[in-house]
């Protein structure tokens, strides 16, 4: 009998699996198990019950008394497949009456699947190899990482943080650095920082992937290696603040890095940083934009980190802009469908979820949909294109820059 290795499951995860009350509150609002498709095994309750059933077959009291039982490989593979259909959006954590930290449960469940040779999924392997070999998920050379900044090098002074001391280290993130469609996010962030005369720099080509993708797919050991490399560079810069414009990098550096090494700087998301600049009068959006805007809360920024007010404050500070909320907003915000490796492994499912979010946005009557995460941006844009929606999508720094540059 092949015995499952449960030593990769955390003590708290095992405890939380027993604490699940099976109430099913999580199933109705689960974007991948209850909304875009109905599949109990994808829902939080389904995953918990199945995994618990499997390890109890081999470690439970009955197994102890009568001997453990083998678990058919196809059943284990099915669980692995379904576990990766989760975007780890954290909606289940919001609604769970027992207040279970489901986000860490799913990430840990994936570590368990990797440890037992059931994951990562083939679709994720190429990305993982790319991160391990090129320090980014896009199979792009390291030397091209800082290419995005060439466009504005005369406009804004961006220091090389490893050579010159700066107050703020801007951690650009792989998506904004390499994806030509998202590059504007890095450019606009830099422009906004420049407008506020912020003393900032980047790690240029020495910036490594934050490891978010690896952590979300269950590869903690590889992610820890990346994290340690980045932490060593953070330390060398001596910057007091690490700023990210990517919600995924923000979550990773703020929440996961302290479990791997010491983060001596304050970690902030661009929306928090800009709010401070506006509050202190260092940034004054002045150009009137006359737009009805709705805001999509990225899961990594909202539910995972509780940043809800800052993006809204920024939007409301722009003259002429009217913010209208979607029916599901803040901690109840619907996921965009991209997280947790779903966009890579299950693109159709991701697009379906994005479509639901676009419908939410359309119902508000807004013409402009704003978000503050590159993955959400990619996913929502795909949803807009697929639905042929008239909504225009903008990153928060883009709309802010439009008001600042007037």
């Amino acid at each position: 009998m092949k015995k499952l290795d449960i030593s990769s499951l955390e003590v708290l995860s095992l405890l939380r699996f027993d604490a699940c009350t099976r109430c099913g509150e999580c199933t109705a609002t689960c974007p991948t198990g209850g909304e875009a498709q109905t599949d109990e095994l994808v829902t939080p309750r389904g995953k918990i019950l199945r995994l618990r059933e499997f390890y109890l077959r081999q470690y439970g009291l009955r197994a102890r008394l009568l001997g453990g039982r083998d678990i058919p490989k196809d059943q284990l593979e099915e669980l692995a497949q379904k576990a990766y259909e989760c975007t780890i959006c954290g909606q289940c954590k919001t609604v769970c009456p027992a207040r279970l930290d489901t986000i860490s449960m799913w990430e840990n469940m994936r570590e368990f699947l990797v440890a037992n040779g059931l994951a990562p999924l083939p679709a994720h392997e190429q990305i993982i190899k790319s991160i391990e070999n090129y320090d980014n998920p896009w199979m792009q050379p390291r030397t091209q990482r800082s290419r995005w900044s060439r466009k504005i090098e005369k406009e804004v002074r961006i220091k090389d943080a490893l050579k010159e001391r700066c107050d703020v280290l801007y951690f650009v993130g792989c998506t904004a650095a390499y994806d030509p469609n998202i590059r504007e996010m890095a450019l606009n962030t830099s422009r906004v920082l420049g407008a506020a005369k912020t003393d900032f720099g980047t790690l240029r080509n020495d910036e490594g992937c934050c490891g978010s993708t690896l952590l979300r797919t269950g590869l903690r050991a590889s992610a820890s290696k990346l994290a340690r490399n980045n932490l060593e560079k953070f330390e060398r810069t001596g910057a007091g603040t690490i700023l990210t414009s990517c919600a995924g990098c923000y979550k990773t550096i703020r929440q996961d890095y302290p479990r791997i090494g010491k983060v001596n700087a304050k970690v902030v998301h661009i929306t928090q940083f800009i709010t401070d600049l506006i509050d202190s009068g260092r940034l004054v959006p002045s150009k009137r934009l006359d737009q009805v805007v709705t805001y999509h809360d990225p899961c990594h920024l909202g539910r995972h980190n509780g940043v809800y007010d800052d993006p809204r404050k920024i939007i409301e500070s722009i003259p002429g802009v009217k913010l209208v909320e979607m029916e599901r907003t803040r901690d109840e915000s619907r996921c965009c469908g991209a997280g947790g490796g779903v966009k890579t492994a299950f693109p159709e499912l991701a697009q379906k979820i994005a479509g639901l979010r676009i419908e939410d946005a359309e119902r508000t009557g807004a013409k402009l949909l704003v978000t503050s995460c590159p993955f959400c941006y990619q996913s929502l844009q795909a949803g807009i294109d697929a639905r042929g929606s008239r909504l225009k999508l903008m990153d928060l720094t883009e709309i802010l820059w439009a008001s600042l540059s007037g």
Partner: protein, 302 residues
């Protein structure tokens, strides 16, 4: 790690466990039970042995579940060592922060604001079942202490305030709470069947088992009142449901009172033994899961 050390840890844990069960057994066996309703002492003896065995199974199952948690990543040593280290740590945490701990347990186990927000019906159902269950346990302890240790007369005398309000009305009320809660739960689970609710054998068994125990309690009370068993002279004002049931029973029902008492007692004891192996175990695991984040070392994955 040496085999001797491992054996020592296991031995330590099982000694601790044995001590707990021996103390419980001693207390159970030493109580005089002068005022107990059942007349046949043989039935009482069967019940006492059963409750000791069932509490033994309950503790063993709970400990075994906890040892399974201890197999997880984040702590050092064997599961037994980890468990032995964590027990004093957890007790120390509760002692040091008793008020926030109690308020947190109340909030997360009984008040459940998230559930209340999601569905008032489900919140009421949960409140009635859990509240009734916990209050019944508390009343049981109070009654046992007052009757068998303190010999508190108002609890013993038929017209004593404590007898009427605690032994008669109190148990009737907590039983009714559970009964109403379980009726709603059964209606949702077996009749309405909302999409989010999944009823598998363990779910059905848990609900029906609890319902059988609660109903059994009322039937027993009805038999006692109908059969004029000493201690059951209460009227409809105190034992309202038991009294109503007694109207449906002949006075000869009193002849099977002892058997009914034993069946109810055995079912209650079995329910206790079943908890660690059922979905009811979330009563214990959920508050621990929430509080554990605060007292476990950070390496366990907060």
């Amino acid at each position: 790690m040496s085999g001797a050390r491992y054996l020592k840890d296991r031995l330590g844990l099982y000694l601790l466990f044995s001590a707990a069960i021996v103390i419980f057994a001693a207390v159970v066996m030493l109580l005089p039970y002068d005022t107990i309703y059942v007349r046949d002492r043989a039935y009482l003896a069967i019940f006492l042995v059963s409750i000791i065995l069932c509490v033994f199974v309950f503790l063993l199952g709970t400990m075994y579940n906890a040892l399974l948690w201890m197999r997880g990543r984040g702590l050092v040593g064997t599961p037994e060592q980890r468990f032995l280290k964590l027990v004093p740590r957890a007790l120390g945490f509760v002692r040091r922060r008793f008020r926030p701990f109690a308020s947190s347990v109340y909030n997360d186990a009984i008040h459940l604001p998230k559930l209340k927000e999601a569905s008032v019906t489900r919140w009421i159902t949960h409140f009635l079942i859990l509240g009734g269950f916990v209050l019944t346990l508390v009343l049981d302890l109070v009654a046992t202490f007052s009757l068998d240790i303190a010999k508190y007369q108002p609890m013993i005398q038929n017209d004593g305030w404590a007898k009427l309000w605690i032994r008669d009305f109190g148990f009737e009320l907590t039983g009714s709470m559970m009964l109403i809660g379980l009726a709603i739960a059964c209606a949702r689970r077996f009749v309405i069947r909302p999409k989010t609710l999944r009823t598998e054998l363990p779910d059905a068994v848990s609900v029906l088992f609890l319902l059988a125990v609660v109903l059994g309690g009322f039937v027993l009370e009805g038999i006692g009142i109908a059969g004029r068993i000493p201690g059951h002279e209460s009227n409809q004002a105190y034992s309202f449901l038991g009294y109503a049931l007694s109207l449906l029973m002949p006075s000869s029902a009193g002849g099977i009172y002892d058997q009914a008492w034993l069946i109810h007692g055995l079912m209650s004891a079995l329910l206790i033994a079943y908890i660690p192996f059922s979905k009811l175990f979330h009563m214990i695991a959920s508050p621990i899961a929430i509080e554990a984040e605060r007292f476990l070392p950070s390496e366990v994955g907060r």
